[in-house]
């Protein structure tokens, strides 16, 4: 196993140790300090790859897992996975530092928190570095599961549980869709590897399953990345502790969908369906998110909707960028390559500013006990550092210089302007919608950024509305957002460092056919007075106007009827399905054992008999039958009589004795059939069983003369005759068809192979020793079961008596 895998699996491995550390050391040291080492070391390890990957190299590592099923953890380190790997470990480091001060070591169940967090980190790293589609799917679902656990971390709250369930249901639904898409891809390309699929592009693109596979994969990506209309889970996911919101629900997990779309762009990109879905849904999400964010009063909900909106923007850029594949190398291709570049750039920027903004909200919540803007205001005076960070993050999100959001927002405007004039895929007339929607959405983005910063920090300071005495956060909580804030400014001034070493290699992975290295991809703040700049200025002017007049128009947005929201639809759908399935299930799950048995028996008889009939399986062949002696016939007759006696016995003793007689006659048959071991065993077991029955006698009720009604008896009769008939016909047909040579002759070598002359014993202890071992385990468990059944009650009775 190479060192690479040790680092990738480090989070999962160390998750095992965390509970021990918590148990023994938490009183001395906050468990987070130990956990911190994990992402930090991964981050440092991954940093080493940057120069090589920037030079155009990729690395492949393989770890065999189930080689017989071709399931291997094949890992490719290329620009795209490295970008995500750095984000996951880098932001992970900062979030854990933050969480050390956010999560109180005295009050919170830190061990579960960090175990879930590490589980998520490991799943996310596995996801982005995996080349095997099914392995990728496994990690994908693991991120959903860990997100579920983290959202429901404060599981005593109803809203946490509901939010977690909602996130789980929606993302797992998408995950199933994605799995279906993956399976179609695997069927088409006959390989599990994404790389090999990209190499066999022609086979896939000409295939009939191309569009269905694309739709299914996109379903997974859109649900995970909270795209319209699946985004409703993200605001509810804000019930999680703030470090989790900042890490999973803004910086990393929700970007898994973006990652998937980017990863699949070489496969699907260039087709009109892909473009319209990715870019169209993306831009709708952008507008929906920003409009909804404006009317929120809870800071975290506002950020959640803004995350949805920003993810839509990245998605839209990826969709627009996929046109580069349609145009191929050339002038138009270059324009859209830049759009993809902008998507990656904004992805990185969003992680920085949104991460810091979430941490700011966490600080406000932590220090004031409130995160509703109706109670907040004027915090600028008491929390100057937090305010500065909020300004940096908020202005960057609004797209103002000198922050990195400005650069990517400008590139976004350029991309939508280009797409309106692209003139393909029916873009001719409605292409103009792209820049218009983008601009409107940006105006509202600007407005909610201003609300976020100035309604919280500006205005009148009203300490009487707050429950706590407010002061600046401790340095540990400020450290991470400050680092992210500095990064926001640094990237504005030196964007090309990031562009050259991290984004360009990632771009190569998304658009492998484009001659990326020949482009001079420079990000610059000043392009001259062009359309994009005019749009930005327009956003600022109109935005400030709207912010000032907010109370006059926001009511219109808030008046949107509740009954028409997606959330309402979700709730109705959920309770509807629950009711429907309950009524459906109650119709056949009657609680009566007899009904269930009738289902089973009827199913058995009908399925077997009809399939035997349909497949012409009924064939009798009596030629190989052994001779019947008079003794055999007599024994058979005696057995039938014994069984009938059990059936008609009106007395317990008679029934049990008849059953015993039946058992002894079975052992006689074993003697006739040359099975001495069986005869002996059957004899002893029958004895012990009869003793057992007689012992239970004391406790058992008397046999009643059955007074059941005729229909009841008739049903039983029909079903039991059908069962007997099925078994008989099946066994006779099986005897008639000897399809394969018996393998029993192999066991006749038992003396040579196992040193045993008794073949049956050799099979039991040697050839099939595993079966025997498990059998005696079952036996022991049954014994314990009996013991517990008996003693549990006598204990309770004793307690009762002592009372």
């Amino acid at each position: 196993m190479s060192i690479f895998f040790i680092f990738i699996f480090l989070p999962l491995i160390s998750a095992v140790i965390v509970p021990l550390l918590y148990k023994y050391l938490n009183r001395l040291v906050h468990t987070g300090w130990f956990v911190l080492l994990v992402p930090l070391s991964i981050f440092i390890y991954l940093l080493r790859y940057i120069p090589d990957v920037a030079a155009g190299n990729t690395y492949k590592y393989s770890l065999s897992w189930i080689p017989s099923l071709d399931m291997n953890f094949t890992s490719y380190v290329d620009g795209l996975s490295l970008l995500f790997g750095l984000l996951i470990s880098g932001i992970g480091t900062l979030v854990i530092i933050y969480s050390i001060f956010y999560m109180s070591k005295a009050r919170e169940a830190l061990h579960s928190f960090y175990v879930y967090l590490l589980m998520f980190m490991g799943a996310m790293l596995g996801l982005v570095f995996s080349d095997h589609l099914l392995v990728l799917y496994g990690f994908w679902e693991l991120t959903s599961v860990s997100s579920f656990l983290l959202i429901s971390y404060w599981y005593e709250r109803k809203s946490s549980r509901q939010g977690a369930l909602k996130a789980m249901l929606i993302t797992v639904l998408g995950g199933f869709g994605m799995l279906a898409g993956f399976i179609m891809l695997i069927m088409m390309a006959d390989t599990y590897s994404i790389r090999e699929m990209i190499a066999n592009l022609d086979v896939i693109q000409g295939h009939a399953l191309f569009i269905p596979a694309m739709l299914c994969v996109l379903l997974g990506a859109f649900t995970k990345s909270a795209q319209f209309p699946f985004g409703i889970w993200l605001p509810d996911a804000m019930e999680a502790p703030t470090p989790v919101s900042s890490y999973l629900h803004s910086a990393t997990m929700v970007k898994a969908g973006i990652y998937l779309v980017a990863r699949m762009t070489p496969l699907f990109g260039g087709s009109s369906v892909w473009f319209w879905l990715v870019a169209g849904i993306g831009i709708i999400t952008l507008l929906y998110g920003s409009l909804t964010a404006v009317r929120q009063t809870d800071l975290k909900a506002m950020l959640a909707y803004s995350t949805i909106s920003q993810l839509g923007m990245i998605m839209c850029l990826l969709g627009v960028g996929s046109l580069a594949i349609y145009f191929g190398p050339g002038d138009s291709g270059t324009i859209f390559t830049v759009a993809t570049f902008a998507a990656l750039f904004h992805l990185f920027n969003h992680s920085t500013f949104k991460g810091s903004l979430f941490m700011v909200v966490g600080i406000i919540d932590h220090e004031t006990g409130r995160r509703d803007i109706r109670y907040l205001g004027g915090l600028m005076q008491v929390m100057p550092i937090t305010f500065t960070i909020a300004v940096i993050g908020g202005f960057s999100m609004a797209g103002l210089p000198p922050f990195n959001g400005f650069l990517s927002k400008e590139m976004f405007f350029a991309a939508v302007n280009d797409v309106s004039g692209a003139g393909i895929f029916g873009l001719g007339k409605i292409g103009l919608l792209f820049p218009v929607i983008a601009w409107v959405a940006s105006v509202f983005t600007f407005v909610y950024c201003m609300i976020f910063v100035f309604r919280t920090f500006g205005g009148q300071y009203r300490p009487e509305k707050l429950t706590r005495k407010v002061h600046e956060a401790p340095w540990g909580m400020l450290f991470s957002p400050v680092v992210l804030g500095l990064l926001v400014i640094f990237i504005f001034f030196f964007p090309n460092v990031l562009g050259k070493y991290i984004l360009t290699p990632a771009l190569t992975a998304i658009l492998p056919k484009m001659p990326i290295s020949s482009y001079d991809l420079k990000i610059s703040a000043w392009h001259g007075l062009n359309m994009e700049l005019i749009m930005t200025i327009g956003v600022i002017v109109i935005g400030i106007f709207l912010f000032k007049t907010k109370k006059h128009w926001v009511q219109i947005l808030r008046n949107y009827p509740q009954g028409l929201t997606l959330n309402h639809l979700y709730n109705q759908g959920l309770s509807g399905t629950e009711k429907l399935s309950a009524s459906l299930t109650n119709r056949y799950m009657t609680g009566s054992l007899r009904h269930y048995l009738i289902y089973i028996f009827a199913f058995f008889a009908i399925v077997l008999l009809s399939s035997l009939l349909l497949l012409h399986g009924i064939q009798f062949d009596f030629s190989n039958n052994a001779a019947i002696s008079i003794f055999d016939a007599g024994l058979v007759l005696a057995m039938v009589i014994a069984a009938l006696t059990v059936l008609f016995a009106g007395n317990r003793i008679v029934a049990i004795v008849a059953l015993g007689a039946l058992g002894y006659m079975v052992s006689m048959f074993f003697v006739i059939f040359r099975a001495p071991d069986l005869a002996l065993t059957q004899m002893v077991v029958e004895t012990v069983t009869t003793v057992l029955f007689l012992l239970c006698f004391y406790h058992l009720p008397k046999l009643k003369k059955s007074v059941e009604r005729i229909p009841f008896k008739l049903t039983n009769l029909i079903i039991s005759i059908a069962m007997g008939l099925t078994v008989t016909v099946l066994a006779l047909s099986a005897n008639g068809h000897k399809l394969f040579e018996p393998i029993s002759s192999f066991f006749e070598n038992s003396y040579k192979l196992a040193g045993a002359k008794n073949i049956v014993n050799a099979i039991l202890v040697d050839f099939r020793g595993f079966d025997t071992m498990l059998e005696i385990s079952v036996l022991a468990i049954a014994g314990l079961g009996v013991y517990i059944l008996v003693h549990q009650r006598s204990k309770r009775r004793e307690q009762h008596e002592t009372e």
Partner: protein, 112 residues
């Protein structure tokens, strides 16, 4: 002989099933036992009957009876014993707890 055995198995299964479908707990246990015997006989029949001597190499016979079904049935007999014991105890415990051995009165969907 095989045909005769298979018919016997069919009859035993019918009787066992009838008992299992009845209302009284004890009858159900008896039915399970009978079906168990039937299945054991079926397995041993499927290996072919009276084809050779007992599967003991010391016998120095020309052919041996099929040892594989015998090994399967041997384990089945022992497991059958354990299952009968558990069912029997479950049966009388539920009789003691609920005071009835009528399956219709032991229906349980109200609590689901």
């Amino acid at each position: 002989m095989e045909t005769l055995m298979v018919i016997l198995v069919g009859i035993l299964v019918s009787i066992g099933t009838y008992l299992i479908l009845s209302k009284q707990l004890l009858r159900i246990v008896l039915g399970v036992s009978i079906v168990g015997h039937a299945v054991n006989l079926l397995i041993i029949t499927s290996g072919g009957l009276k084809t050779g001597s007992a599967p003991l190499l010391g016998e120095k016979a020309a052919g041996f009876a099929d040892a594989l079904p015998q090994a399967l049935v041997l384990t089945a007999i022992v497991i059958n014993f354990a299952v009968t014991a558990v069912v029997l105890v479950l049966c009388y415990r539920s009789y003691q707890s609920f005071g009835t051995d009528d399956m219709e009165q032991l229906r349980g969907n109200e609590h689901e």
